[in-house]
């Protein structure tokens, strides 16, 4: 994958009717696990292909016209912009229909929406990525973004785990990061199988074992809610302050632009003010309904 | 309904039930925030009990709350409401030992819509509405007008089949008599007038009625028989209906809902009362009710020992539709 510098591109803003999706064509499908696949696609409109840009952490509303629309984070990196990637897990009507599509099928794409990982804040710091299952998806965009601009950041630790070896996503990336000597890649599974020779243990436990230093560090966490709830206390124990912990929240979304109301937590809209939040911000939420 | 004595008895019984720990909470009626309205009171605090009322405006079917509340409830029910409880017992949705039924013998509930039409004034412009046995006295701007009580009762009250609960733990008053045949016919007037128009006209009638439907689901949510955790309209795999309020989707929603409550609907009329855009839903539910009676000689909520109509199978069931 070519690394292309997109810093010259102006920030992409949707023009015209914000609810009209752009049409994109599926170019490749990689099966990550039995229920998760990564879809590589590109816009049909050439001009859009050249103009489009986004930032790590942003999401888009992907649809099959006639079936429905749902939010998915863009898991490819803005530093590798020749195509876009979204990882999709089969959980309902739309996602099962997406999995029935093949290469060449057309999907609707609205976005990018939301805020992004704060690259300025992360610059010059040691980064600790903590991911679980398909939660690696939004982190992946940031990790490649960071790795492709390696000299801007300090140490990189990636701690990633899944329920079992069959649930590990992005194996090809895990391999690449493992090979990269400037990155400390730690992979774990809750429970291994006969052929598993790697680490065993829940992600928060492994995080505690790896014990990355909190000095000049930022932890970026993403995974199932239960993993996040057990990870934050471990990070606190390791000395991370709430401002040093960042995560991305998931909510049911429809409009993606802060109008339909459903993704709100108190007075903030996850689609507009998030989905990236620091733990300090989360602690100041009026409601714990997220 | 002469309520003075019943109200006192209700309050003392309810208080005793809470104090003796026989129930976890009482479900009854208290004065509403608007004139001539009452509102459900659900409380476990015995200090709230003095707010309980019984009057001709206690319209809600409180048994709708039994499906969601955990614990034991003392519940105030009129005859029609008690049938809903029996229907829930038949469905095994509620356990008999978890309800203490406080039965109210009912002589009919006043339909404020009919009152408003009779006097040409809105509810909040009326000074007083008092029932005096078989007459109602409505006072507007110090003008007293009397009408026969039949003219202001709800349609389904006119045709009431069980004014006094058959299934109860405590009966709060004297038994009242069921509706006369004449009244039963009067209660079906609107419905029967629909049956007498040709099918194309009837279709056009319902099409225009359901054009107004907003899919607020009040009809479904007030219905004690609609207790599904996840309603069929909320299913996406398979997707039966869009939540979009087109008349086609609205009509299909209501028809399927009627099919689902067939044999469990007791014609309490709450669906029609709750509808904010006045769709005559009872015309559909009553039709279903009558069909079940005609074909299977069965009425919901009359016999708690009877098995739930559509959930049971008898060897003697008709099978001539299987070809």
């Amino acid at each position: 994958m070519a690394v292309s510098d997109i810093s010259h591109r102006p920030r992409f803003l949707a023009k015209g009717n914000v609810y009209l999706p752009h049409i994109a064509v599926i170019e490749k499908i990689i099966d990550e696990t039995y229920d998760t696949s990564t879809f590589h696609f590109n816009f049909k409109d050439e001009k859009l292909r050249e103009e489009f840009t986004f930032e790590s952490g942003q999401f888009a509303l992907v649809s099959i016209l006639g079936i429905g629309e749902a939010p998915f984070c863009i898991c490819s990196s803005p530093t590798r912009i020749d195509h876009l990637e979204c990882s999709i897990r089969q959980v309902g009507r739309l996602t099962r229909a997406l999995h029935r599509l093949g290469v060449g099928a057309e999907i609707g794409f609205r976005g990018p929406y939301g805020n992004c990982f704060p690259l300025d804040f992360l610059q010059g710091k040691n980064l600790v990525f903590v991911g679980g299952g398909i939660g690696l998806s939004p982190l992946r965009s940031l990790i490649w973004n960071v790795v492709d601009n390696r000299d801007r950041y300090g140490n990189i630790d990636i701690i990633y785990g899944a329920r079992s070896p069959a649930d590990l996503c992005f194996n090809y990336d895990l391999e690449a990061w493992d090979k990269d000597k400037t990155v400390n890649m730690v992979t774990t599974v809750d429970k291994g199988d006969e052929s598993w020779t790697g680490r065993e243990g829940f992600v928060p436990q492994v995080l505690e074992q790896v014990a990355p230093s909190a000095s000049n560090a930022v932890a970026i966490v993403c995974g199932p809610p239960i993993m996040i709830r057990f990870t934050f206390p471990v990070l606190e124990k390791l000395g991370f302050t709430p401002e040093q912990m960042i995560t991305t929240l998931e909510k049911r979304m429809k409009c993606g632009i802060g109008k339909c109301g459903r993704c709100n937590i108190g007075n903030i809209y996850v689609c507009r003010d998030g989905p990236v939040f620091s733990y300090a911000q989360i602690m100041s939420f009026i409601s714990s309904e997220y | 309904m002469k309520d003075g004595g019943m109200e006192q008895k209700l309050r003392s019984e309810a208080k005793a039930l809470l104090e003796q720990g026989k129930v976890d909470y009482i479900i009854g009626f208290e004065a509403g925030s608007l004139k001539f309205t009452t509102t459900p009171l659900i409380t476990s605090d015995k200090d709230d009990i003095d707010r309980l009322v019984i009057n001709p405006f206690i319209v809600n079917n409180l048994s709708v709350y039994l499906s969601e509340l955990k614990g034991r409830a003392g519940i105030v029910v009129k005859g029609c409401d008690s049938r809903s409880i029996v229907s829930l017992l038949q469905d095994n949705k509620v356990a008999r030992e978890n309800v203490v039924i406080l039965g109210v013998p009912c002589s009919g509930i006043i339909d404020l819509g009919k009152v408003e039409k009779l006097v040409g004034k809105d509810r909040d412009e009326i000074d007083d509405i008092t029932q005096d046995r078989d007459r109602v006295v409505i006072t507007v701007d110090d003008n007293r007008r009397e009408f026969p009580i039949r003219e202001v009762l709800f349609d389904n009250c006119l045709g009431c089949e069980l004014p006094t609960p058959q299934e109860y733990d405590i009966l709060l008053g004297e038994l009242t008599s069921a509706a006369s045949d004449e009244d039963k016919i009067a209660s079906q007037k609107k419905i029967n007038s629909l049956k007498n128009i040709p099918p194309e006209q009837r279709w056009e009638f319902w099409r225009s009625e359901f054009d107004r439907c907003l899919r607020c689901y009040a009809c479904r949510n007030v219905c004690p028989a609609c207790f599904c955790q996840r309603c069929f309209v909320e299913e996406t795999e398979p997707l039966w209906l869009l939540p979009v309020p087109r008349w086609q989707d609205n009509l299909v929603f209501q028809v399927i809902r009627n099919m689902h409550v067939a044999g469990r609907c007791t014609d309490c009329g709450e669906c029609e009362r709750a509808c904010p855009v006045n769709i005559p839903l009872r015309s559909l539910t009553r039709e279903m009710y009558d069909m079940v009676d005609e074909l299977f000689h069965y009425k919901a909520g009359m016999d708690k020992e009877a098995s739930s109509f559509l959930a049971a199978y008898e060897a003697t069931d008709v099978e001539d539709f299987i070809r």
Partner: protein
Amino acid sequence: MKKVTDSKKISKKNIAKLLDEWRQEFTVFVPWRDEAVAKWARWDGKDTSFLDWYRNTVVPPKAIFFPPMEEMFSFQKDREGYHLELPASDEPKQLIFGIRPCDAKALAVLNMTFSDAYEDPYYLAKRNGGVLVGLGCTNPYDSCFCTSLDSSPTDSANVDLMLTDIGDDFLVEAITDKGKALMAKTSLAEAVTRADEARAKDVKETTYAKVTKKIDTEGIKEKLLSGFDNKDLWEKIAAKCITCGICTFLCPTCYCFDINDELVKNQGERFRSWDSCAFPLYTKMPMENPRVEKWRRLRQKVCHKYVFYPMNFDVIACTGCGRCIRLCPVNWDITQTLDNLSAEAQVKMEK
């Protein structure tokens, strides 16, 4: 303070003519009450009996700019792929005749959401071309409480023209330039007399006093927030609610919507339709639902209107129209809830 002497008056007998004049330029919407329900409908060109009815509708005028269902676009699929088409919008500009101050204020509140950050093209296309001709109330319901929310039954703040019922005529005040332009075009307006002005003032004062339901919004945000995590209190408040959509659908400031697609063979549409935060599936995600319990949804509804919306837009998202109270099947009353919550907060503060 605008001078009442700039006002004109129009005889009620001339309203049909006036509406007919306006009909040449606009689609005129009037309050419409029939056997079924009171709502807003396109004027049929003849019937002005709605002038004899002095109450508010059941379905609010938000249904004109933000309809219960709306096609966002249609699409067709052929060998070349998908083709999208926006719906044809050939209806002329809309004039809403007889909108009450509570509903007009509500439209101003809705505007804030639909024009914030990303502009909502469907709502704004209709609203920006729309003209509001307000009608002051003379006989509020016992469920109205607009006077507690920075408004009044005769408030002219959010309309283009404001009518006040002074008997055989309507006093007409031009509030905005749009309103002034409309008045300039018609010859049906007459000059007002001192007696007319006095009558109008009297009507406004008398009607204000007729609003009996009141709430205290002093510090309401802080009071609601102080009891935010009081699960027992909220469970008690929510106990009788049946979580239907009546209050949210009939509320003139509620705007939550759902987006759904329909497909028939190779073509279809994407619709948006009214949704409610009271519905159980509103926030449901595949693996979890943060608002399963009824009390959470009710808390969300109340706090969105009185805490969260004011935090974002500096205005309470409620205009006291009272429809939620009037039409709730169980007579759940938000004013009672706010009083209870305020009282609890007071007790807590004193401890």
